[in-house]
Amino acid sequence: MVSRTTTRRALAALGVGGVAMAMTLAGCSAGGGASSTDGSVTLSYLVDNGEATVVVAEALAKAFEAENPDIKIDVQTRPQGSEGDNLVKTRLSTGEMDDVFAYNSGSLFQALSPDQTLVNLDDQEWVGKLDDNFVKTVSTDGGTYGVPMGQSMAGAVIYNKDIYSQLGLEIPTTWDEFISNSEAIKAAGVAAPIVQTYGDTWTSQLFVLGDFNNVLAEDPDWAEKYTDNKAKYVDEPAFAGFEHLQEVAEKGLLNEDFASATYNDGVSMVATGEGAQYPILTFAASQLMTSNPDAKDVVGTFPLPGPDADTNGLTVWMPGGVYIPKSTEGDKLDAAKKFLAWLATPESCDIQAESTAPQGPFVIEGCTLGDDVPAMISDMQPYFDDGKTNLALEFLSPIKGPALEQITVAVGSGITSAKDGAAQYDEDVKKQAQQLGLDGW
């Protein structure tokens, strides 16, 4: 008979758990707008734990506190990459997010269900001061949610100018020129023609993602078609990115240690002339200024070239945003709005530009980079001035398949053919689109 009481007790315990769940589901979560007795408010501000990110966040917090003595900003950190993505989603969905947090814009931002989880800021006056392209990347049909943090950047090729001038090479404006330059570098035997760094898998995606300017040049509506399940990576023009990756691997143009080298190694290789060209995001400027500051004027930038020299241009990434979750209420919400408004001022831009090397132009009216930027960044300006830029796909479509970096590593290492890789990625995209509940998938 003992057994029966056990079951009953177990059921009682289950009941407790069930009640607990029901309570949370009904939204009785703790937290909210507590403020200390002396009228000051403390905001916790969550950023990723990249060294540059933390330095900037601390500097901004200090400057803001100096102007607003009654608000304290307490910087908290989280891991980067998809672990961090998960953490952000988990905390938002359980109502435990910090008062203010920094996170990507574009497709990753869309995955946060902003209308349900974030405070709509479209009534704030600073929204009018932002670049329209940026506003799109932190907005849904229901509102605008974020203020920019950092600068825009490009997915392009950084290259060693000394090697180029030594061998008398011109900046390539078509893919064929790029390949012939690389062959020339290989023949000269001075450096690895093209650097790849699969020790950090995310770096393998640049041939595909950074090629998007050329995709749009061929088909301006490609992003919409892609979102509507009408354009695929197995077909041209988008297939070119996968093809290029296979081509450079097959022609033996990569550094010997491409499989194990890291992003840091890649940047240093270009800086020291061990490698000649490296497709990467231009936030590499901050890494360059940390590890090889003497190469400030040696490393330059050019866009990933496509089939046509006339449409040669940069694929641009927007900066991430700073957002307020709905769990921030009362005094804290007022303070948080004040903080975000201040982040959109030139003063805040200056602090950001001083704390870490810039990676591209700002997207806030009245913010400028100093004159003393690395060549990598000044090389980008003409493309912006001539309007030869296009946004990267992740800012034009909510869908980005999560397995792209694994697939591009497989293609770049010769494990998978470009054709199979592209087909795998199309499947991956389909999964993501279904997950987002988009129509037509």
Binding site: R9, G17, L92, I407
Partner: protein
């Protein structure tokens, strides 16, 4: 007459287990039938399971999971037993050697993963530098699709064999000395003693090591994550890393479905095995 083994001994453990493990797990089984983005839940029946079985790396993941689990657990049982016998016999420096072998168990997995990634770097790593000095071309270790999975398995064995050894030693300590004394009186050789006394009486310890290392191997993920992240490409992906990646990608429904699949696969192996091992144990 009340039983001297009261059922209420189960209760305190049951409270923890039920509230923090069983309830969430049952909830997540339901979520595996939904499209769940943490913000919205939509019931879609078994779609997730259908989708999960269409995953491109899945077939390879299944194969890799079994290779990894059997290689690591087999090696741990054999090496652990040998080391256990060796380190409970009368040799010098026994305590120190035991500590040294157990040492890796104590180190954090993240730390060990990073360390071996560096040591086994195909180009800059000390191991290959050492091999080169001996005139042997070093393999590509974790960057070569052919060896990536086995490299991680090797590190796993290195890290886990100390625990298996410890469990075997604890098992040998529990064997009453009278048996050995009796065997000595009968003039049995040490090999015979091992075969007829030690091995059968070690049955519970062996069962424990087999079960733990097999479950660990089938579910293993942290070392793979720290060293190869399932790469290069998908060549060292196992079920657990596929599931984790889906989770990271925010496919929560899909990844809980994957977890259920993983659970079923592991259970299909472990439950019969556990039942068989226990039955054998009861017979002896």
């Amino acid at each position: 007459m009340k039983s001297p083994y009261p059922t209420w001994f189960f209760l305190p453990a049951g409270v923890f287990y039920v509230t923090l493990f069983l309830v969430p797990t049952v909830a997540s089984f339901w979520f595996s039938l939904t499209r769940w983005t943490l913000f919205d839940v939509e019931f879609i029946g078994i779609d997730n399971y259908v989708r999960f079985f269409q995953e491109p790396p899945l077939v390879q993941g299944f194969v890799n999971t079994f290779i990894y689990a059997f290689v690591t657990s087999g090696a741990k049982v054999v090496l652990g037993l040998l080391l256990g016998v060796l380190l409970s016999s009368q040799i010098i420096g026994r305590g120190f050697t035991r500590s040294v072998i157990f040492f890796p168990v104590l180190a954090s997995t993240i730390g060990v993963g990073i360390m071996f990634k560096v040591l086994l770097d195909p180009f800059d790593g000390p191991v290959n530098a050492g091999l080169e000095a001996l005139g042997i071309p070093g393999p590509g270790w974790w960057t070569d699709p052919a060896t990536a999975l086995l490299t991680v398995a090797m590190v796993d064995i290195w890290k886990g064999v100390g625990l298996a050894t410890l469990i075997f030693i604890a098992g040998m300590v529990a064997i009453p000395q009278e048996y050995y004394e009796a065997a000595k009186v009968d003039g049995a050789s040490s090999a015979k003693t091992f075969w007829n006394i030690t091995l059968p009486l070690l049955q519970p310890a062996t069962a424990t090591v087999v079960l733990l290392s097999l479950i660990g191997g089938l579910r293993s993920f942290d070392l793979i994550w720290a060293i190869t992240k399932g790469g290069p490409g998908f060549t060292s992906d196992v079920l657990a890393s596929v599931v984790y990646k889906q989770y990271q990608a925010g496919f929560f429904g899909l990844s809980t479905a994957g977890n259920v699949v993983l659970f079923v696969v592991v259970a299909a192996i472990i439950f019969p095995l556990s039942w068989w091992l226990n039955r054998k144990g009861d017979e002896s």
